[in-house]
Symmetry: C2
Subunit: 640 residues, 2 copies
Amino acid sequence: MSLPVLNNFPVEHLNDEQLSSLAAAAKRARVAALTMVTAAKSGHPAGAFSSMEMFMSVFGVANLTPKNCDSLDRDFVVVSHGHTSAGVYAALSEWGFVDREEAMAHFRNCGSAFQGHVTREVPGIDWGTGNLGQGLSAGVGFAIAQRANGRKGRVYVLMGDGGQTKGQIAEARRIAFKEKLTNVVALVDWNNIQISGDRRKVMPCDLPALWAADGWEVVECDGHSFPKLYDALKNAGKNGKPTVLLCHTIIGKDGLGMEDIPDYHGKPPAREMYDEIVKHLGDSPEVLDKALARRKTPPVYKGRKVDFPPAPSIETGKPFDYEGVKVSDNRGAFGKALADVGKLNYGKADKTPIIVFDCDLMPSVMTKGFKENCPDNFIQCGIQEHCVATMSGTASIAGVVPVWAEFGVFGIDEVFNQQRLNDINHAGNKTVLTHVGLDVGEDGKTHQCIDYVGLMRNMFGWKLVVPVDPNQTDRATRWMLKTSGDICLAVGRSKVDGLKEFTGDYEFEYGKAVKLRSGKDGSIFALGYMAQIALKAAEILAKENNLEVSVYAVSSPLAPDMEALKEAAKSGPIITVEDHHVDTGMGSIMIIEAARAGIALPKIKTLGVDHYGASGTSDAVRVEMGISAEGIAAGFLKAR
Amino acid sequence: MSLPVLNNFPVEHLNDEQLSSLAAAAKRARVAALTMVTAAKSGHPAGAFSSMEMFMSVFGVANLTPKNCDSLDRDFVVVSHGHTSAGVYAALSEWGFVDREEAMAHFRNCGSAFQGHVTREVPGIDWGTGNLGQGLSAGVGFAIAQRANGRKGRVYVLMGDGGQTKGQIAEARRIAFKEKLTNVVALVDWNNIQISGDRRKVMPCDLPALWAADGWEVVECDGHSFPKLYDALKNAGKNGKPTVLLCHTIIGKDGLGMEDIPDYHGKPPAREMYDEIVKHLGDSPEVLDKALARRKTPPVYKGRKVDFPPAPSIETGKPFDYEGVKVSDNRGAFGKALADVGKLNYGKADKTPIIVFDCDLMPSVMTKGFKENCPDNFIQCGIQEHCVATMSGTASIAGVVPVWAEFGVFGIDEVFNQQRLNDINHAGNKTVLTHVGLDVGEDGKTHQCIDYVGLMRNMFGWKLVVPVDPNQTDRATRWMLKTSGDICLAVGRSKVDGLKEFTGDYEFEYGKAVKLRSGKDGSIFALGYMAQIALKAAEILAKENNLEVSVYAVSSPLAPDMEALKEAAKSGPIITVEDHHVDTGMGSIMIIEAARAGIALPKIKTLGVDHYGASGTSDAVRVEMGISAEGIAAGFLKAR
C-alpha cells in the first residue's frame, strides 16, 4: 500500500484508507528504526518509537519533498531531539527521501550519511542537531528568512520533552511570539520519560503554563493519533499566534517491553527482544540479518553535499574614506557601511535581504543607521543571545544575510556552542563583535573579550577579520556582506586614526597582512587596531634607540600571511602584539604555522593579555597590561 | 544620623526614625553613585538610582556585615545586574563596607577595587557579575552550599528586568523550586526600561506568569518603599517556596531629568544636570569637585585579596588498581573513585561536603555509585547546563566540593562563558567531561568535544587533566577532589587498558609527562588515552621500520612538561598526537612554549582532528581521522 500524498493538507480530514496506509507505514518505520539501532549496536530506539507518528505526520503534510528539499521556497523541518535519528531516517524513507535498506544497514557506520544525530547531509534534514535546546531557535531563524523573502512556507520544529527545560527554548518562544511568526509550529514529544526517569521528578516543568506564559497557542494532542495530529497541524496558527502541539505519547510505543522504560532511551534491544518486537510489528526478524550482512560492506550513500550558502546577491556600494587622528571608532565605521549597503539593497526583489538582529545594544553596536534605513529588516530580539546565535545561522541558509552585532563576550564567549553548530551546519552567519580585546571602555574584566581569536580557532569554517582602522573596517564590512560562509568582524570601541593605506582603491583581502612601516632591525606583527599602537612603538624605537622596525598589521589572525612572516623572519627579532589572550591569539597562531612551515623564528616574543584586565580607560588598561606604545617598545628591546 | 542595625530583621516593622534615617542614607547614596559615574565619565546611573532602595534594604537586613563578609556562615548577596555597580558601592558605603570618598574618586579608575561591574574584591560582593542571566544560578549555588553545610543563611539575588529574558534564569528558577530552596529570595528591579526603550515592546515577557509557572511565590512590591521592602523581605519563604519580589520602580528615580529616560542607562549626566540632581538630593555639587581632585592621585584601595577557595578537607582513600586489556573505561574509573571518596567523607562534620550535580546523564557519566553511597549529596538538575555551570562555581566558594560530570560539549562548549566567569571569580569547580575527543561512541560530530583544551587555554586559572588509563584516572580523581581551584578532568567513553606505570605507588603529578617507552629515533607526545594508541604505533615502527621511538603520555596539556620536551628535542623528530582540534590542542601548546623557551624543534608534526569527525565506532572514526596506530606510525615516518 503506497502512502497518500498529504503535502499541504489536500484533504479536510484523513480518510480511512489514508489512515490505514499511514498505520502500516508507521509499523514499517518502527521496524526500520529498530533494525538500525540493533545493527549499529547503539542509538536511541525508545524516543524514535515515541515520536514516530509525529515524524510521519510532519514529513507527510509539510511542503517538503525529495524534489524540493534543496530549494528554499518550501516548508522547513527541524528535528531538535536529533538523537531520535533512527526514527527520523525511517520516516524519511517512508516518504521517499532516503533508501530504507541503506539506512538500516549503515546507521551510525563510519562514512555513512546516516549519522548518530541528524545531519543536513540527509535529504529532508534542514539542520543538524543533537545538542538539545537549539531547535526552536533554528526554526525561528527559518521563519524570519521566509518572511524576509516573502515566502509563505511553514516551519515545523519537533522536540523532546526532557530538553524543554533548556533556557534557550524560552528565548526562542518569546521572539516567535513578538515577531508574530504564526507559521512556526512546534511539536513536543511529551512522553514524560527521560534518561533519569520520570520527567516530572527529574526536573518539574509545567509545559502548558510555560508555553502559554510566553504567548503561544497551546494545543494538547494524542501524539500517536494520525487523524488528531493531522487536524491539529492543519489548524495551527489560525488564531494569529505561533502554536505548540504538546503531544501525549508513550516512550517506546509499540516496542514490546520498551514502553515507558527509561533504559531504552539510549540502548538497543537484545536480539531476542528485537525479534519479538519485529514480529509484533508484522515483519520478519530476517530484516536484521540482511542489514547486518550489508553492513559488512562499506556504506554506499554518503549523503547530499552540504556547502556554505551561495554568495549573497548584494550591491556593496562605494567605500567611505576616513582620514585624520581619532576620526572614528571602528564600530562606527562598521555601522555606517552597514547602513549604506542596507539602503542600497533594501526592498529590492533581486537582492538577498540583509536582516540585522539586535540584543538590546543598538546604541553601542552602531546599528541605528541600518534600522533607520531599513526598518523592516531590523529585528529587536531582547537580551537573548543564545537564540539569536542559532537563528542567524538558519536564517543564513534560508536566503538572507543575517548580521548580528553584539559585544564580544556575548557574541562568542556566551554562545560558543551555538556558533560551533553553525559551523558544523555550514551556515553563513555574519557576527560583528563590537567590543573586543581590552577596548571596551571602563567595563572591566567580565566584558573584555580577550579570547575571540582563540575560540574561533577551535572551529574549521569561520573567517575572522579584525580591522586596523575605519577605512579597513568599511571595506571589510562590505566584503563580509557579499561573501559566503560564517564570518566574524571584530572591532573595538575607541576612536582611532584613519590610515591612508586603507583609503581610496584599497580593497580588503582576507589573509593578507599589510606592512605599514619598513625597517631592517626587526618586526612587529600587531592584531587589528593594535597596529596603530605598534606604529607609535616603532616611532619610539626609532627616536630613542635608533632602531628601524617593520610594522605588519594583521587583520586575518586565523589565516596568517606566511609570505609576510617569511620576509620578517629574515631581519631581526619578531614580536607579536595583541590585546588578546597571549596564549591563544595571533602570536600563538603565527608560531605554530611557522613551525609547521619550517620557518625558523630564532627570536620571537609574544605580547598580549596574560591576566584579566583592569577597569579603566582603554589606554590605562593597556598600560597596565604592558601593551601601550611604550610597553611594546620595551618588549621589542627585550626580544633582541 | 547613623543608620539603624537591621541585620536579621530585629523589628517587626520599620519605625519612623529608622525610616527617616534610611531615606537620608538613600539620598546620600544617590549622590555618591551619581558622583562616581560623573567623575569616571562612564557607568550606569539610571539603574543605580532605580535599584537604590533595594540595595539599601538587602545590604541592611542581610546577615552580611563588614565583619562577617569573609566568613561562610552568613547570608549571601548576588547583584546580577552588575552594571549598576555605582549604586551597589554607594549602598555598601552607607552600611560601612567601603569608603565613600575613595569610591566616588576612583570608580572605574584603573587599579581601583571599584570596577565597572561588581567584583569580589569589594567587601560585600559575593560574585562578580555583569554578564546578565547568571545571577540567580549563582544564588542557587550558594543556597545549595548553605544546605550542604547545615547553615541557615539566606541568599538574596538582585536582578534587572531587561535581563529576565535570559534563558538561564528559568533554569535556575526550576532548580530552586525542585530543591525547595526557600532561603533564596530574588528581587527584580521592574522599571520597564531597558537600553532600547520600553521593556514591554523590546521583548514582551510576562514576569509574574513566568516566575509562577516555575513554582515560585510571586510578590509584587513598591521597590522604592523601605517599609514595604522590609516587610516583603522578612516574609519571604514562609510559605515553603522560593520567593521573588517583583519590585515596581522608576528608572533614574530621584534623578531629576533622568527618570524613565533609557539614555541614562549607560550615560552620566552633564555637569549642569549633575549639579541640579545633587542639589535636589540636598547636597552640594562640590562633592564632584573633591572627587575629581582626588582622582588625580592614584587609587589607594585595591580591594580585598580574592583567592581560590582553600583546599577542601577531604579523605581521599586508597587508589584502586586496574591491570589488563580493556579493563575499564576511564569514565568508569572516575565514577568508582568518586563513589569511594564520597563514601569515606559522607556525613562527616569535619569534612568538606562533596556535592555531585547531574544534568540527566548519570548512567553515562558514571555518577550512580556516588548517588548510591551519598544520596543526599547527589543533585539532579535536569537538562539545564548553564545554571549548573554557574551554581557549581558559587557552591565551591561557599564551602563545598562541587563535582559536575557532563559530556564534553555540554560541560565546556555550551557553557564556556559560565566557566569563564568561574575563572574570573576564582572558584573551585570540579568539572568532569566524560565524553571528550573522538571517543564518544557513534554519536557523531555534534557530540565530539574536540576543543576542550583549546577552550580552557583561553582562561588563566583552570587546570585540565586528561588521564591515560583507569589507574591514572583514579589517582587524578582523588587528587582533584582535595585540590583547590577550578579543575577539569577529561575522559573518554571507551574501555582502555590498565597500565602498570600508573598502579601501586604512582601518584598523579600535575604538569608531568610520563615516558611510557624510550627510543633513540624520535618521540611521540600523545594526549591522555591516545598515548595507548601511540604505544601501538611505536610497536609498528619498531617492527616494520626498525625505529625506536619514545612515547610520552601528556595528561596536563595546559602545563607542558618542558623537561620532557627538552629531552625529546635531542633525539630525532617529534610528533604530537591527540584526538583534539590539531590547531588548538596539546601539540600547538608545546610548539608555542618551546618557541618561548628557545627550545629548537627542527622537525615537528602535529597529528589531530582537522575536520569534523564521522559517526562510527571510536576506532573507525580515528582511522578516518588518520590517528589510528597505523596513522600515527605513518605520520611519524612523514615527519622524519
